[in-house]
């Protein structure tokens, strides 16, 4: 019995290795990149559904699924003269870099997707790049904000890496100008999330652009719940404003604890705060004088038809208000759809080329063009909140 088992295993191994080699030779025979073979086009999602960034990843999954559902309901994506439906392949990278790399390998080599949405964080996104490049499949990240994410070490652009969100430099600078010119703050304290490139990157950009004095820079970690010590220390410094680059889960707690400790100065943040949960965690009565930079405003429905439709559909589908991360994931799918239509092909290399040439595409987060660094060009908005509600959204040039 043992002998036969061994033989079976050996045979299976042999078959498998032949399969792998055949895979290789087949790959060299055809053109570069993945192409869909049937009537559908496969789009992958490499996303954080569990682990530290799981909360954000699941919001992106909702945006992704809504986009796919709507496109398929209209018959699919126009590829040349035929319409092709999307087959989504969603994989969890568990908020780990190794998970992100192996999910990318699976999506590109096994599932043969034509394009990928994700990952959510710069760290996981960067880990995916070698496998994307090897397979020549483009990815659009909804929220990897590090300025260098889309760039190679030598400063050239990564050919297969795109994003739907602003990079940190732009958001940090915009917040700094806002603090200078509108809030007229002279003394600012920074509370940065130093467990992500997002928080530290934004804080760095803010520091460079801000003209006043930064009296203290303190840091916290994702998952922290107690900020009383930091807030008490800031209170003693009599600042004019606090800059909090981080996500809503911690920023909400900072707002709550600051207001309860009697710190009433404006709190400025970034798009990580743009979520209905912010006011829920902070408590509506505490959420006063909050300002943050964001690509997506719930107010933008008043001027942007795509955003209006998205917000109505999202609410109908998930019975809650659309968060920014869902909007960005939705737009990532729209960008891929646009690129496939422009390329008139499901070939992943052609899609990547078309992604780089997107011009004035209507999207939820504003009319989008892709620049030479594969960053999106679209209007940036500063939302302000009073009493837990967004009261104004100012577009910044």
């Amino acid at each position: 019995m043992k002998q036969t088992m061994k033989k079976v295993v050996a045979a299976a191994a042999a078959v498998m290795s032949v399969g792998i080699m055949a895979g290789c030779s087949a790959k060299f025979a055809t053109t570069k990149g993945n192409e869909s073979t049937g009537d559908t086009i496969k789009i992958g999602m490499n996303i954080e559904l569990s682990g530290a960034a799981g909360g954000y990843g699941n919001q992106m999954k909702q945006g992704f699924q809504l986009a796919v559902k709507q496109i398929n309901a209209k018959g699919g994506i126009q590829v040349g003269d035929k319409k092709m439906k999307i087959t989504p392949v969603i994989q969890d990278n568990k908020s780990t870099t190794s998970g992100s790399a192996s999910v990318t390998a699976q999506l590109t080599a096994k599932d043969k997707v034509s394009a990928i949405v994700g990952p959510a964080t710069t760290n996981d996104g960067t880990a995916a790049i070698p496998n994307l490049t090897k397979a020549s499949v483009p990815s659009v990240s909804p929220s990897a904000t590090d300025p260098n994410y889309t760039l190679q070490k030598n400063g050239k652009v990564q050919p297969y890496v795109f994003r739907a969100c602003f990079n940190n430099d732009l958001q940090g600078e915009t917040a700094a100008h806002y603090a200078d010119n509108t809030i007229k703050a002279k003394k600012v304290a920074i509370l940065e999330d130093n467990s992500s490139d997002y928080g530290t990157g934004l804080a760095k950009a803010f520091k460079q652009a801000f003209k006043g004095t930064i009296v203290s820079t303190q840091s916290f970690q994702e998952g922290d719940k107690d900020f009383n010590a930091l807030i008490t220390a800031i209170k003693a410094k009599n600042v004019d404003a606090i800059y909090v680059p981080g996500y809503y889960s911690e920023a909400g707690l900072i707002i709550k604890q600051a207001r309860q400790a009697g710190v009433d100065v404006p709190i400025i943040g970034s798009d990580g705060m743009a979520d209905p949960k912010l006011a829920q965690i902070a408590g509506a009565t505490n959420t006063n004088d909050i300002y943050y930079t964001t690509p997506f405003s719930t107010k933008s429905g008043e001027t942007n038809a795509v955003a209006k439709a998205f917000m109505t559909d999202f609410k109908a589908e998930y019975s809650e208000d659309a968060p920014t991360f869902s909007a960005l994931a939705y737009d990532s799918v729209l960008m891929i759809k646009q690129a496939i239509e422009d390329a008139k092909s499901t070939n992943s290399v052609k899609i990547a080329n078309a992604l780089a040439k997107i011009k004035d595409m209507p999207a939820v987060t504003g009319t989008t063009s892709v620049d030479k660094n594969h960053d999106p060009e679209k209007p940036i908005v500063i939302e302000s909140m009073q009493n837990g509600k967004v009261v104004a959204a100012t577009a910044v040039k």
Binding site: L49, S50, G51, A52, G54, G55, G57, N58, Q59, N194, S216, Q218, S219, F220, Q221, G223, D224, K225, D226, N228, A229, L230, T232, A233, K235, A236, Y248, S249, G252, L253, K256, Q260, A261, G262, K277, Q280, I281, A282, G283
Partner: protein, 292 residues
């Protein structure tokens, strides 16, 4: 001076949470020499239970607190029966690895069933601030401190004054001898897990109320810090765990207050290393009688 006193208040309210958690670690360790790494996750379950009953049945805070303690106690006993009892005579490392497995199971199970997103805990007790000598103390901070102290005194009474407590101490000293005089060690170990988990459940609800934010991974860091608190106080010692909790809470607050927030976790672990090198049995660890 005001800032300093305010920071002491901040440190004490943070420390009382660590102390409640550390008690559970220390009791379980005292009896079966197992570091129950799933303890922080029971605290998370307690918080989620509080969230559930307050939102669904609109019960008041104390009902939520007590029901969370009961649910957590049952869960703790269930985990003990399913995961640790079959390994009672295995090497300690096996049980330790199992504890880490249980911890992952609870964290990811909750993420899978209820989503990984942060939730806002219902405000069952409205917050008021008291201003005394320029220091702000909220009623919730007072509530946490009082609840923690009451629970710790209650625990001490159970351990020192009741028959069950005597049996617990007997099993901690020598399980075989205890069995010889008619104590069922399994029974006692179950009770210990229940007691420790009830305290974790209470801490979960208190934290939910205090910070207004809960998520499936909320038990990870506090769980590790509470473990450090238990070791600093002398693992196995109940008063030691309480003191360790307050020491860690004050230390963390102090490090942030002097502007070294980036090193606040590092400071906690440095203290752990220093204690292990200088005083391996912790601050109160030598007191064998207290070992429970």
């Amino acid at each position: 001076m005001q800032t300093f006193l305010q920071q002491v208040i901040n440190g004490l309210s943070l420390g009382s949470i660590y102390a409640l958690l550390a008690l559970g670690y220390t009791m379980v360790y005292g009896i079966i020499k197992l570091i129950n790494f799933a303890h922080g996750d029971i605290y998370m379950i307690g918080a989620f239970w509080g969230y559930y009953v307050i939102n669904t049945y609109h019960v008041n805070f104390f009902v939520a607190l007590i029901s969370a303690m009961i649910i957590s106690a049952l869960l703790g006993m269930l985990i003990e029966v399913l995961a640790y009892r079959p390994l009672r005579h295995s090497p300690r490392i096996t049980a330790l690895i199992t504890a880490i497995g249980v911890s992952y199971f609870l964290e990811n199970g909750m993420s899978f069933l209820f989503g990984a997103d942060t939730r806002d805990f219902p405000q069952a007790v409205a917050q008021h601030n008291y201003h005394v000598l320029g220091i702000t103390v909220s009623n919730i901070q007072v509530l946490i401190l009082v609840t923690a102290v009451v629970l710790m005194i209650g625990l001490q009474l159970i351990v020192q004054k009741t028959k069950m407590g005597t049996a617990m101490r007997a099993v901690a000293v020598d399980p075989e001898a205890a069995a010889l005089v008619g104590i069922d060690p399994n029974h006692i170990i179950s009770f210990t897990f229940g007691l420790g988990s009830a305290l974790a459940g209470a801490a979960g609800v208190l934290i939910g109320l205090y910070y207004n934010s809960i998520d499936p991974l909320m038990g990870m860091t506090p769980g590790i810090k509470a473990f450090v608190a238990a070791v600093v106080g002398g693992i196995g010692s109940i008063p030691g765990a309480a003191i360790g909790g307050f020491v860690i809470g004050l230390l963390e607050t102090g490090v942030q207050a002097i502007g070294l927030s980036a090193y606040k976790d590092a400071a906690v672990y440095i203290v752990l290393i220093v204690i292990l090198v200088i005083l391996p049995s912790g601050l109160l660890g030598k007191n064998v009688k207290e070992k429970v």
